[in-house]
Amino acid sequence: MSLRIIDQNEFQHILRILNTNVDGKEKITIALTAIKGIGKRMASVICKQANVDPSKRAGELSTEDINNIVHIMNAPAQFKIPHWFLNRRKDIKEGKNLHVIANQLDSYLREDLERMKKIRLHRGLRHHWGLRVRGQHTKTTGRRGRTVGVAKKKGA
């Protein structure tokens, strides 16, 4: 670990990338994981493609570095990130291999659930009812949300 003298004025404590707040104090690869849809592996690949030194802190990066990173995040296939790395492959509507991040992720998830509900798929109904979808037994598990109890008889 080498000590580096950083200019205090240029160090950004919180960055705003893709509508998410990214902590500037953490190392860049870990800091990027704050964005939904980017995990540790994806973040390190993005940094490599962007030619960013991964031992830097996120606050130290210049704006053009950050723009570079965002550019890669939005179009990973163009930057030689293999298709099996992406999180939404063979999208059911468009058939393309997408990598969805941040707000997009949320909206795609909502769309998926809506679609399942609309066509009355069993999976969609389970989501709608708030039950387990993947075939788990629900008799004794998953109690956190639901309470089982007997009402006490009123006063004796």
Binding site: K90, D91, K93, K118, I119, L121, H122, V148, V150, A151
Partner: protein, 145 residues
């Protein structure tokens, strides 16, 4: 919805299954169609479809032909809950058995790639009533009065 580029037709977007529209889907050979499906459906078609499924498809085609224009075809009853929905079946009405009765399912294009059985629920969604006495450990000795 916006659709400023398609003012003449209806306002909804055309249906695409993995990037391909319904008419083109119908033109695809079975091999090409399977490539669009997910792994489980691909495996199912690779391992072959038996006679009963082929019969079902024949019946569906027949029902579609016999129905008048603008009306829905007659429901074709089946026990084959494990039949994957192919583009050819879109528009038909299938009565899928759920163990006891036949649930009429109108096949829409969004249903392609799923099983017939997923649209015919086999159980009645339980709405629990109030729990009775003895349901929990704590309530077992209360009811002496």
């Amino acid at each position: 919805m916006e659709d400023a580029n398609k003012p003449k037709k209806r306002t909804f977007r055309t249906f695409h299954y993995r990037g391909i529209e319904l008419d083109k889907l119908l033109d695809l050979s079975q091999k090409e169609l399977i490539q669009l499906f997910s792994a489980r459906q691909r495996r199912k078609f690779k391992r072959g479809i038996d006679k009963r499924a082929k019969n079902l498809l024949k019946k569906l085609r027949k029902a579609k032909k016999e129905c008048e224009f603008g009306e829905k075809p007659k429901p074709v009853l089946t026990h084959l809950r494990d039949m994957t929905i192919i583009p050819e079946m879109v528009g038909s009405i299938v009565g899928v058995h759920n163990g006891k009765q036949y649930t009429n399912v109108e096949i829409k294009p969004e249903m392609i790639g799923y099983y017939l059985g997923e649209f015919s629920i086999t159980y009645k969604h339980t709405r629990h009533g109030k729990p009775g006495i003895g349901a929990t450990h704590s309530s077992r000795f209360i009811p002496l009065k």
